[in-house]
């Protein structure tokens, strides 16, 4: 009798959240909203990404990045947050690790703010409200580079 393993599923798609060798991309979520963190967590884990930590403000996000480094692949960074805003945290993370992959996720879509974030080293910028498709597309374009 043949088992399932004898028929490799050639149509099975590799989830976007897995690296070519099969381990998940590790994500740090920085957002002061528990709602957004939960929403991102659900979207990302459903596609194979692994959320390794969550931080509630920019300062905590920067500290956690240093702590996790090099075992973190992508950071999502909110902008409007208490203690330290996301732009400052982005700059600090980029100073610490110039190869960091940070995706800004903000409800603010002002052109000069987006430009400022990209110049500071952010790899992408997602404007809230979030939806699954939008988040996964941007993530894929960042991790596949």
């Amino acid at each position: 009798m043949k088992t399932k393993e004898d028929f490799p599923e050639i149509n099975a798609r590799r989830p976007d959240g897995l690296k070519p060798e099969g381990t998940p991309y590790r994500v740090l979520i920085v957002d002061d909203s528990m709602f957004v963190a939960k929403q991102l967590n659900q979207i990302l884990t459903s596609e194979g990404y692994q959320v390794v930590a969550t931080a509630g403000d920019g300062l905590e996000g920067y500290e956690k990045y240093k702590e996790l480094f090099p075992n973190v692949d992508v950071v999502t960074m909110d902008i409007t947050m208490p203690k330290m805003d996301g732009l400052t945290a982005l700059q600090k993370i980029m100073e610490f690790d110039k190869n960091a992959k940070v995706i800004m996720i903000s409800a603010l879509g002002k052109q000069d703010l987006v430009k400022q974030a990209l110049v500071a080293g952010a790899k992408n910028y997602i404007v809230k409200p979030l939806d699954r498709k939008k988040v996964l597309e941007r993530f894929l374009s960042v991790v596949s580079k």
């Binding site: 709602f35 409007t80 002002k110 809230k128």
Partner: protein, 154 residues
Amino acid sequence: MRVEYINPFVESAFNVLKEVLQGDVKRGELYLKSTSIPVMGVAAIVGLAGDVEGRVLFDMDKPTALKVASVMNGEELKVMDELVKATITELANMITAQAVTKLHELGFKFDLTPPAIFTGENMEVSDQDVEALIVPMETAQGKLEINVAIRERG
């Protein structure tokens, strides 16, 4: 308060609510309220700072807040817990941020501060000498009032 300020809030409230609630949203008639504002039970506040100062208050009753948060989380939420509060707070943040983005494009420069939420019975938020414009919004989940008070610095 300048009328130019209010339209971006009406538009962004309409767009964001429609998107996150995935349903029909109806705008009610705008009206003015002065000084003390009795709130309906759940109030999220976002502060504005820059060329102007002011605040935007999102006001709704508890059943509406629970229903809105349930839709936004894709699960039924029955008690006013931290997740419900965080969801309503983020809704306020998204609507204000989208309005601020539009105002920015029109040449008004100001930013927003992280939102806060208040819940309770017979709660009152009072402002000194601030006249607020109220934008009522009807959704399938209930009525929300967006209360905008902005004044120029100087």
